[in-house]
Amino acid sequence: MRGKSVLPKITSAILVARSAAAGAAHLAGDAVSQVVVVAREAAVRQPPGPFRPAFWRSPLRGRWLTSVLGLILLAGLPVLAITGFLSYVSYDPRLHGNDETPGANWLKFFFFSWPTHPAWLYRVNQGVHVTLGLALLPFVLAKLWSVLPKLFSWPPVRSPAQALERLSLAMVVGGVLFEFVTGILNIQDYYVFPFSFYTAHLYGAWVFIAGLVIHVALKFPKMVAGLRSRSLRRELRTPLAATEPEAPDPFGLRAADPAPPTVSRRGLLLAVGGASVLLAALAVGQSIGGWTRRTALFAPRGLSAVGPGKLPVNHTAAAAKITAADVGPAYRLVVTGRQTVSLTRHQLMALPQRTAVLPLACVEGWSYSATWTGVPLAELARLAGITRPVSALVESMQQAGSFRRVTLSAGQVADPRSMLALCLNGADLPPDHGYPARTIIPAAPGVHNTKWVNKITFLAEQ
């Protein structure tokens, strides 16, 4: 039964491939024989639909387009990965209790003590990570579109080598989508995922990177050849009327039977680039701040966070269950070192104060700059009898929730701008910003600027 049905299929496929190849001969040269071979193999008992090459008809798919999209991602994704890893380093995970994702110690080779200079370091890092992520999404989708026929190539496995390579591609495709989905949901506080964002986003990134490095290593020469197969300048000048399919390639990217084009390659690249600019432009204002925040229509702390006396907030006092009694006259800050001191807010106000303009930046990408006034942490350490603390454990009166305690490094405590802030922009801290007192650490991630602080423990060198 099978033997009978296979034969005519192969013959017809060869005929189709030959006639297609003959038509394309002047374009393709020696690629033709490969196309015939590919078509003949593919004809063996293919299921219908997307498993047949004739199903894929877009005239724009081809090695050049895939290579261009690949090149853009090859430039952008490493920046995304590096800013992501730097974001991890910024939590100073080697300090006690700071590591949100314990385990896999060999993957922590890049750690270093996070600096406090320049103060905008974390702000820029996160702004780039989130905004670039949004900007790359259209290119990721376009790249996946350009290679989608390969998912259905038949037979699905030709050799052990190809089977393993397809498995590594599952890491690349699954990884990039997983990272984008978790990141995009997280910045909107949409915690529907059944895992910790930190764990999943970090280790998902490693799975993706492992697959991507192999993918790039295997495909880089093909990408270079693909880029050389057409002239970008000429493509950008070619209107729809003059748009032709790419030359057949041995990878099965170009359609076997391309339909007439409805858009030029230039048009497609412009649309993808336009979508990228649109997503980034409607969000980046939440990272730049100032008047640009009004332009951030689609960003969690953009236009919505603009208004008289409004500043973006990460965790409200109500959500943290901070009561009026907690912040009333009974409030005491307990500072411990060689000795323990208990201070009222009044006493804190009477200590030497320092004012600094410092940014506050969230892992979610938004940030703002404000004028903070308070007691330098070094001053509080001195009160506790320690001149050069190696670290400080800052605790919030918030009873539950992540980041209610944070360990600061020696460098962070020593920076004269690091303070226990009491005032924001010349007025008492608003409740949502940590009244009665909060820490402000230059260049530290937002959640390491603990709000509603009631205990600081300085550790001296042993």
Partner: protein, 169 residues
């Protein structure tokens, strides 16, 4: 050595280096996943990984392809200027914005977002509708201009009509 290399190539289908590189990648990924297993989160992790692939390749892609094909089917067959790209761009941009920001636009994360930020999600839907409306309006304007230009070009010499583009071309 040469014989071994050739034997591997014959059985495996690529050079031994290909095999080693892939095994190294799997080892790295496995090592990373081990930390997820240790955190007792691997089930959800694996599920979402698979759902990400299925959701894109077998859901999102077929949906937008079918939407595009149906739109082309129901559009006028021989317009002076094909209208499809004047629909694709605003519709595609609007759907992309919705796909990225749906938790805020549809208010799905209203509770957690409200608790975190002290802000409401109500305005996002109106913004999305407004941006979508503006994009379609701009597109319509661009189409009107293109139509006018094409009409000016096409009308005077009657013999030019035969060179009119194919439907959807």
């Amino acid at each position: 050595m040469k014989y071994l290399s050739r034997a591997i190539r014959a059985w495996y289908g690529a050079s031994p280096l290909h095999l080693l590189a892939l095994l190294a990648a799997f080892a790295l990924a496995g090592y990373a996943v081990r930390a997820v297993v240790a955190a007792h989160q691997w089930r959800g992790f694996a599920l979402w990984f698979a759902l990400a692939i299925i959701g894109h390749d077998l859901l999102l892609f077929p949906l937008y392809s079918v939407a595009d094909l149906s739109a082309r089917r129901f559009l006028p067959t021989r317009p002076l200027v094909p209208v499809i790209n004047y629909l694709r761009v605003p519709a595609g941009f609007a759907l992309l914005l919705l796909m990225v920001w749906f938790p805020l636009i549809l208010g799905l994360s209203a509770t957690t977002y409200g608790r975190a930020s002290g802000l409401g999600t109500g305005s996002y839907l109106w913004r999305w509708l407004a941006v979508t409306g503006v994009m379609f309006a701009l597109s319509a304007l661009a189409y009107a201009i293109a139509l006018r230009r094409a009409a000016k070009r096409e009308v005077p010499p009657a013999r030019m009509r035969s060179s009119r583009r194919d439907p959807g071309a």
